[in-house]
């Protein structure tokens, strides 16, 4: 993009890499659990990291549509948490 200062793409790329690394590390918690709640937390981590990643890529690649995707990420991340919170309480095995 022509409006970005010269070294900013580098900074954004590095930041995006850190974010993806975070996302991958967060998966360890997804795999390890132990319960449903921790899995959902990791999904929330994916959501917030994903929003940041999308915003970064939108600036880096100059695609404004990616910001729309970030918006939908933020909205729908709430849906998953709400659906989980409103489940009927199960009797065991959280």
């Amino acid at each position: 993009m022509e409006t970005l200062p010269p070294t900013l793409p580098l900074a954004l790329t590095l930041f995006a890499l850190v974010l993806v690394l975070n996302l991958a590390l967060g998966l360890l918690r997804v795999l390890r659990g132990p319960g449903l709640t921790d899995r959902l937390l990791a999904a929330q981590l994916l959501g917030s990291t994903g929003v940041a990643l999308l915003l970064t890529l939108a600036a880096l690649q100059g695609w404004p549509s990616l910001r729309d995707v970030a918006l939908v990420f933020a909205l729908l991340g709430l849906l998953a948490a709400v659906a989980y919170a409103r489940l009927r309480p199960e009797r065991h095995r959280a």
């Binding site: 993806v20 449903l36 994916l46 409103r86």
Partner: protein, 310 residues
């Protein structure tokens, strides 16, 4: 960014395997939601923001919530009473005598996927022939965004039939209605946040619909976001009950009806079914898309099923 792509691919595969091997289907569906989020990022990396929008809204949002709710209902009802499992009348199907050889099935699946990979790698890309053809025909389609042009102009009959399929699915689902559920207890925090986010989601839906004519967005993404808003309102037990109004048959059929009417009416003027007369493309496409958005949202909510008991 190759490293990022590799990590994303790895995350995708890990999540898919973990979702399928999870201890319970509940956990599996939460992992499926995470899978959908990562897949949406992959679509972005592949240069397909339209698909990413739909994946985030439908795959990670609506489909994940659907499976999660069904799984936890099974779980809670089954563990609620130990005898629940034996209570229902068993269907008189005999148990199989011997188990199927699982390794044969596994080998078959492996062979299938292997063949698929070989075939995929053997395909020589058409050097973007379709992309070029679309770009070439785009000016005369009078729709700025290529994906929208493909969906509503070049291959409009695909979209028309898709809406018909959705309608058929709703009819089938309505034939086996879900039991009505007791309203959930009021939660002040949730009510406040949904009162904030639901109108915002409605706004985003309309915005995506409008954006679809010039960049990523369109009826599918907008409809999915709209459905997400309605489901959010339902989970929060907001006083409005959008479900009963939104899933009435006229709204479900609106998209198909408007599509057919415009397709035939404008098509008669343009000289071809599903064609648009020159100069009228943008308003007509927008009208179709608005109707489609309402119907798609209504359909998704109806497919979700299970309204509130009064």
């Amino acid at each position: 960014m190759i490293a990022a792509d590799l990590l994303l691919a790895l995350a995708l595969l890990l999540l898919a395997a973990a979702a399928l091997l999870a201890r319970s289907v509940q956990i599996g569906s939460v992992l499926f939601i995470a899978f959908g989020l990562v897949l949406a990022l992959v679509w972005v990396r592949l240069g397909a923001p339209d698909v990413a929008l739909a994946e985030a809204a439908i795959g990670a949002g609506v489909a994940g919530a659907l499976l999660l709710l069904a799984a936890s209902e099974f779980e809670s009802r089954r563990s609620g009473s130990a005898s629940a499992r034996a209570a229902g009348p068993r269907l008189p199907w005999p148990r199989p005598q011997r188990s199927r050889p699982r390794w044969v099935l596994g080998a078959l699946a492996l062979a299938c996927a292997g063949l698929l990979l070989l075939a995929a790698q053997a395909i020589e890309p058409l050097a973007g022939a379709a992309t070029e053809a679309v770009a070439h025909a785009l000016p005369q389609a009078e729709i700025a965004h290529p994906v929208t042009a493909v969906l509503l102009s070049f291959r409009a009959y695909d979209t028309l039939l898709e809406i018909a399929v959705l309608l058929a699915a709703v009819v089938a689902v309505k034939a086996a209605p879900a039991p009505l559920q007791r309203p959930l207890p009021h939660d002040p925090v949730l009510a406040r946040v949904t009162a904030l986010t639901v109108p915002l989601a409605l706004l985003v839906a309309v915005y995506l619909l409008w954006a679809g004519s010039s960049r990523s967005g369109g009826a599918f993404q907008a409809g999915a976001v709209l459905a997400g808003a309605v489901l959010l309102a339902r989970f929060a037990s907001l006083p409005l009950d959008p479900q009963s109004h939104l899933t009435r048959p006229p709204l479900l059929a609106l998209g198909l009806a408007v599509f057919i009417l415009i397709g035939l009416g404008a098509g008669a003027l343009a000289g071809a079914a599903l064609g648009y007369p020159a100069g009228w493309v943008k308003p007509l496409v927008l009208a179709i898309e608005a109707a489609l958005m309402v119907s798609i949202a209504a359909t998704l909510v109806a497919l979700f099923g299970g309204g509130k008991a009064a």
